[in-house]
């Protein structure tokens, strides 16, 4: 070999060796993770059983919390209140970082160790998080309370294979119709909405290339799409019938919608131009209110007359935001995290959060409060809720597949001229791929 090159590399190797040595002794987690678990288990079994007494020393350290940017300040206040009420946790320093629900799951899965100890996420991510080992089961002492105080849909969303994995935070992760009273005359009919928008030269927004909004059509015509999961969060079977007459009707309605000059694809009110109506969630209520001013109004989703002449009420997902706790190597820390997560998802904090940023509570007592009941957007959502299907677990691939399906409509691969056979062929591909994600 070559001597000069080798000597350069050797110098490198030596320093690397030293660095690597430092690295291993420096970060405790590495060392711990390479130690055989059985050994560690044996030595830890004893203290685990005697951790029950009330005035235990909970130790100290850092707890990281990830929430959406607009509730960072709110969460900081609540954390301060929590620590004041629970002086036994004083040793723990809680830091709140703005990581949105969209990014949280991805980041947690990239590196569980560096991820947050407590984090908010949208329920569709729960299966992924469980199988990546990024979610701890809800503490046994909290399970009963969580199940009894929150609405059934949100508890179902936080459950994977019979085990409760997260604390419900909101029950507002669904969508309904916002509209401008001065433009839209009849919000209960999709054709009328489009006609009104076209007449006024304004836009109707709905994100048809999202697996989340798309289901408004498919579930509306009576299609099914759901998955079964085992305890570890793996998908075992799929129940889907998109490739059917009902699916074709739904698909044709999407194509017809796409062909309207007033239609725009999108679900972000903040990004919309020339807006007259939008299918969106409560998180945008402030934005829409600002846009429409006095003409601000909300309603359940409209119905449409399908290509087969029947009238269908648009359906869709009812969704939830959840608060998760990551598996911990330290039982004391886990106890503190559980207590904090339970607190942050409790009735009072949910109400306070509604007051601060308008997130609709999942807690049933909070839902009955006057303020929540008077909210126009939340009322519309509640009205829509009877037509929706509580969102279960879906594989991550489903969402991008659905985007593909919507994009096929938007690109004009499928148009109003497409035959039923062509549409059925696309739906068949979609259905087969959906099924292939399970098992």
């Amino acid at each position: 070999m070559n001597r000069k090159l080798v000597s350069a590399l050797l110098a490198g190797a030596m320093v690397t060796g030293l660095l690597a040595g430092c690295g291993s002794s420096g970060s405790g987690s590495t060392a711990a993770s390479t130690a055989p678990a059985s050994e560690a288990a044996a030595s830890e079994a004893a203290p685990a059983s005697e951790a029950a007494p009330a005035d235990v020393d909970y130790g100290s350290g850092d707890i990281k919390v990830w929430v959406a940017d607009n509730v960072v300040d709110f969460t900081n206040q609540q954390v301060a209140a929590f620590k004041e009420a629970n002086p036994q946790f004083a040793g723990w320093n809680v830091s709140v970082e703005p990581v949105g629900e969209g990014d949280a799951a991805g980041n947690m899965i990239t590196d569980v160790e560096a991820g947050a100890d407590i984090y908010g996420f949208a329920q569709d991510q729960i299966a992924r998080l469980v199988s990546a080992g990024a979610l701890e089961e809800v503490a046994p002492e909290n399970v009963e309370a969580v199940k009894s105080q929150n609405d059934a849909g949100s508890v179902g969303a936080a459950t994977v294979g019979g085990t409760l994995y997260a604390y419900p935070l909101t029950s507002d992760n669904g969508y309904f119709l916002y509209y401008d009273k001065s433009v839209v005359t009849d919000p209960s009919d999709l054709d009328q909405i489009l006609a009104d928008c076209e007449a006024a030269g304004k836009n109707f927004y709905m994100e048809i290339n999202s697996g989340w909004y798309q289901t408004a059509f498919f579930f509306g015509t009576g299609c099914n799409l759901s998955y079964e999961t085992d305890d570890a969060g793996n998908f075992t079977s799929a129940n889907v019938d998109y490739a059917s007459d009902k699916g074709v009707v739904a698909m044709k309605e999407m194509i017809r919608l796409q062909s309207s000059p007033a239609f725009q694809n999108g679900s972000a009110a903040g990004e919309a131009t020339n807006l007259a109506a939008i299918v969106d969630g409560t998180w945008d209520s402030a934005t829409v209110q600002e846009l429409f001013g006095e003409n601000y109004a909300c309603a359940k989703l409209p119905s449409f007359t399908g290509s087969d002449g029947q009238t269908y009420q648009m359906s869709g997902f009812g969704g939830f935001k959840l608060l998760g706790v990551k598996p911990q190597q330290d039982e004391n820390k886990l106890a503190v995290c559980d207590a904090l997560a339970a607190y942050l998802s409790g009735e009072e904090v949910q109400l306070a959060r509604y007051d601060a940023v308008g997130w609709g509570p999942s807690n049933m007592n909070a839902q009955q409060s006057d303020a929540v009941k008077a909210d126009v957007a939340l009322s519309a959502l509640a009205e829509q809720l009877q037509y929706t299907i509580p969102q279960g677990q879906y594989p991550g691939d489903y969402w991008s597949l659905a985007t593909g399906l919507g994009d096929d409509v938007r690109q004009g691969n499928l148009t109003t001229d497409s035959t039923d056979e062509e549409i059925l062929a696309v739906l068949q591909t979609f259905q087969d791929t959906c099924i292939s994600y399970a098992g």
Partner: protein
């Protein structure tokens, strides 16, 4: 040994090995006791012969090696064949992590490399003994320690200069690349993620799934993406090249004033960070962006033009916008080079009655192509991997049910790789795609490089 590679004659490696073994045998057999001890205690011989600096370096390397292996390397190496067997488990409510396959793989590779390097050190140590003994036998003096150290600022200055860069490249480029190549042969994905789950070797399974053409295989998607990657790189390179040349000629045209102003305006696209300019342009052409907004306001169109959602239109848009990004570079380069074309070439052409168009095709273009051949090659391979333009504009979208693995119609292999890593944590397939990108780049480079006129004929244009 070392001599062989540097010289032009290539010997087969078996012969090199044989010669080395013979020399090792001879050194040990005929050497004095100091040399023999050096086989175990590295640097012992040189230290005893007064070469303290050299000897200490060898000794230190040995100590470092032993410390590394004992405290760190051996443990990882022993698990390398399985990538860990101890699963994560729960003790009470606490999680006790088992083996971390990721770290086992990473440090296993590092350990293997370090062992190989140590064998080389050992070999160098023996050769040093051999040389010293030979010099002493011939009655010559060994160089003083000070002189040995000083040589690192003079005749051995290259070692000083290259030590740190080579170390950096080894740790942050070579090691990770070997690691990722190994990942392509494991099942490391979202269901087998460290530290919670173990992953292990799976042989060629991932490559098989890349070339499987079933409804769910990666085969057809891979070919679609690969084809678009090549088409994109071709257009992005040559359109920019010729338009850039044209703009440079235009600005350099006799009688055009404010040359500097025109250039400065164009160069703005290089100066402004792309995440600002390209994201703005992406928004500009969105369905709700100002371009569609104005067109509709003026009544030219009734519904927005789907710039980013129609696959063909999106591809065209990307190429067009890349012109906006790419022309200025070429313009700058061409401006500099055009001035280098000897004026008398044009003068004599003019004498022969050539018109400007003829002069362009007979003189300017051949000269530019000749001189910028390597640039064209590097910009072609650069465009194969042009992440920013694609990702900032479309993120690879639009998608379709016809494409697997979350690929979109405007995805290049690299953006697909990136999305697999970040969105799907499908590391095994990302690694396979990465290897494919390497193969494509290497093949293109090799083929084109050998076609370049400036390589074929060094004297060429002069």
């Amino acid at each position: 040994m070392a001599r062989v590679h540097g010289s032009k004659i290539k010997k087969p490696w078996t012969r090199i090995l044989g010669e080395n073994l013979a020399e090792i045998g001879a050194t040990v057999a005929t050497g004095d006791w100091k040399t023999k001890v050096s086989c175990l205690i590295l640097g012992f011989g040189p230290i005893m012969r007064g070469q303290v600096a050299k000897g200490l370096i060898f000794l230190l390397l040995e100590v470092a090696f032993i410390a590394y292996m004992a405290g760190f390397g051996a443990e990882y190496l022993s698990k390398f064949s399985t990538l860990g067997t101890v699963a994560t488990q729960k003790v009470g409510r606490k999680t006790v992590y088992g083996d971390n396959s990721f770290l086992i793989l990473l440090f296993g590779i590092l350990t293997i490399i370090i062992i190989a390097l140590f064998i080389l050190v050992w070999r160098m140590n023996l050769r040093e003994n051999y040389v010293e003994e030979k010099l002493l036998k011939e009655g010559k003096h060994l160089p003083a320690n000070r002189k040995f150290l000083a040589s690192f600022l003079d005749e051995n200055f290259d070692k000083t200069l290259l030590a740190l860069p080579c170390l950096g490249i080894f740790v942050f480029t070579v090691l990770p690349i070997i690691f990722m190549i190994c990942v392509a042969f494991t099942n490391y994905d979202k269901n087998h993620q460290s530290p919670t789950n173990l992953f292990t070797w799976v042989g060629l399974a991932n490559f098989r799934s890349l070339f499987s053409f079933g409804s769910n295989g990666f085969g057809s998607t891979f070919l679609t993406v690969l084809l678009w990657t090549l088409i994109w790189a071709f257009f992005a390179t040559f359109i920019d090249y010729f338009l850039g040349l044209a703009v440079a000629l235009l600005i350099n045209k006799k009688g055009i004033k404010f040359k500097k102003l025109w250039r400065t305006i164009l160069v703005l696209t290089i100066a402004v960070p792309q995440f600002v300019s390209l994201l703005y342009i992406m928004k500009m052409f969105g369905n709700d962006g100002i371009v569609n907004g104005y067109l509709m306001k003026w009544g030219w169109i009734s519904s927005p033009i789907p710039f980013w959602t129609n696959p063909t239109l999106a591809k065209v848009m990307i190429v067009v916008i890349n012109i906006w990004v790419g022309i200025p570079y070429m313009m700058l380069i061409a401006t500099g080079l055009l001035m280098n074309i000897p004026e008398d070439l044009y003068e004599s052409a003019r004498m022969d009655g050539a018109n400007p168009v003829q002069m362009f095709f007979k003189i300017t273009l051949p000269y530019m192509l000749f001189v910028t051949g390597p640039f064209l090659l590097t910009s072609f391979t650069g465009n194969l991997n042009n992440f920013n333009v694609i990702y900032l504009l479309t993120q690879g979208r639009p998608q379709s049910v016809k494409l697997t693995g979350n690929a979109g119609y405007t995805d290049l292999l690299v953006t697909w790789l990136y999305k697999m890593t970040v969105n799907d944590t499908n590391y095994k397939m990302a690694a396979v795609i990465g290897i494919m990108v390497f193969l494509v780049t290497a093949v293109v480079s090799l083929v084109v490089y050998n076609m370049l006129p400036s390589v074929k004929d060094e004297e060429g244009f002069q």
